[in-house]
Amino acid sequence: MRWVKRHLLPAYAFLAFCYLLLPIGVVILFSFNAPSGRYNYVWEGFTLDNWIHWDAPPGIRSAVVKSLEIGVVSTLAATVLGTLIALAIVRHRFRGRGATNMLVFLPMSTPEIVLGASLLTLFLNRQIVTGFGTIFIAHVMFIVSYVVVTVKARLIDFDRHLEEAAMDLGANEWVTFQKVTLPLLAPAILSAALLGFALSIDDFVITYFVAGSTQTFPLFVWGAARVAVPPQVNVVASAIFLVAVAVMIGNVLWGLRNRRRGTVEEPIAQAIPVPRQLPQQGAA
């Protein structure tokens, strides 16, 4: 009885992880499948062809390239805008601070479908042609809030004595910002950017509304799902997954190293770029 009690929780955790990871295993496994017909639902045999000819299905290559392009430019823009907002909110007391917090929090608590639909009505009403530009606009809009939350969390724990020391040693505000503030914030900004990029290349709902005839990878999958999804979709998804996991492990190791060197006192969970503290932080 005791033995059962002691092993109940670990056994449960094991099963729960199986549940979480099973679909990932399936995605990767079926990227090696050799379906005889058009449907990639049943295992029919191992092949490397899908990986070697990953861009065989027409349109998949340009969709992946488009996703990466949009991910990079919108992440860059959103990271800059979001970091500036975080600096203003944490470092300054000003009128409208509460309203600013609220405005940052709201997009994260609005269902994506409403964000996409409302942007579409804006573009329709202003007769803006939907395409790359409107996807960029939409992605920057929804990524900014996540950047603010991530960078804000780090700024709140920031040891301001380091900046005061720099100023005491004769550095002006700009030099202090460049040589002290920015380097210390770099891990948080990087986490925010990684999160933003992950959100961008994964986004389907908002993009679907504002894409026009432009096709990103998720839109390609959606179109394929109406007919038959080629195994190459699994190849691309597996590749994205493996890169993301590698980057995340790298980020965690980097955080560990910094911690060991004593330069950063960061709870390790923060190195994992996923929003966790939104509701508490948001309306505060």
Partner: protein
């Protein structure tokens, strides 16, 4: 920078300007356009005109109340399931996993790094009629001989639960991880049983995580249409499916806009009820 030195009080506004302008133009203004559009009448071919057409709202509710109810029931069930599945798991990670915590955390968020649509499609493989899961359930007579999982609400709710579970698990983990072990020792010193210590110390202290996780799971789940589309049939369609098809296929913008507004209003109402139940200070920290 000299400018900023002289006008110190302007600094925060200069920092905010680009980002806030972006959110005002592309988040707030569109909501205004959505509201405006929801009160128009007409058709795509004849053109839409604004005329305070509140009838769009009544029509949306009377035509689609079924989908609204379904959205909230599915999202509610999925949120509860995600809580029940992830609580023991993150409890184990926070208190028992020792130095491997970070590895397990990565495993929890791992599904988020598989493209949303692709990981939902993976459930098509897993739950396929000729697949092992359905076969097993048929063998033990949970399902009839020709019973299936795909195209049922079980598959749709299961998909929603799976897709948003990490958003439940992470805030839960953060709140459990922050619990001071000394509090549990104190409870033990005061002769609390394991069960009492859990119910009276651990569970209340993890409440912020439960609240945050519930919001992060419920809101996207209520607006979701992908799971119903890929794993269900029109009989499982949620309000998201209706909005999506009216906006992008039927091109009935006014009624799609009205539906979006009602969805948002209902979510806000649900959050207010929830906030009242759990205490507002927990919601806003």
């Amino acid at each position: 920078m000299g400018f900023i030195h002289r006008h110190r009080s302007l600094t925060p506004y200069l920092l905010l300007l680009p980002g806030i302008a972006w959110l005002a133009l592309f988040f707030l203004a569109p909501l205004g356009f959505l509201g405006y559009q929801s009160l128009e009448s007409g058709t795509f071919d004849t053109g839409f005109t604004f005329e305070w057409a509140f009838s769009n709202y009544w029509n949306a509710i009377s035509d689609y109340h079924e989908q609204f109810v379904r959205s909230f029931v599915y999202a509610g069930v999925a949120t509860v399931l995600a809580l029940l599945v992830s609580y023991p798991l993150v409890y184990w990670i926070a208190f028992r996993a020792g130095r491997w915590k970070n590895v397990f955390l990565i495993l929890i968020v791992a599904p988020l790094f598989v493209t949303y649509l692709v990981r939902t499609l993976a459930w098509l493989n897993i739950l396929a009629d000729e697949g092992p899961v359905v076969g097993f359930l048929r063998d033990i007579h949970v399902l009839g001989a020709d019973g299936r999982l795909l195209a049922t609400s079980v598959a749709v709710v299961g998909g929603i639960t799976y897709n948003f579970l990490p958003f439940m698990a992470l805030p839960l983990y953060v709140s459990l991880e922050q619990i001071d072990a000394r509090l549990l020792e104190a409870a033990e010193d005061l002769y609390a049983s394991k069960r009492e210590a859990f119910l009276r110390v651990t569970l209340p202290l993890s409440a912020p995580g439960i609240v945050a996780g519930t919001l992060l799971t419920f809101i996207p789940a209520a607006g979701d249409f992908i799971n119903a589309q890929l794993l269900g049939t029109p009989r499982q369609y949620m309000v998201g499916n209706v909005i999506q098809s009216k906006f992008l296929e039927v091109l009935d913008y006014p009624s799609a806009a009205a539906l979006s507004f009602i969805l948002m209003a209902l979510i806000v109402a649900a959050l207010l009820v929830y906030a009242k139940a759990v205490g507002t200070e927990r919601l806003t920290g």
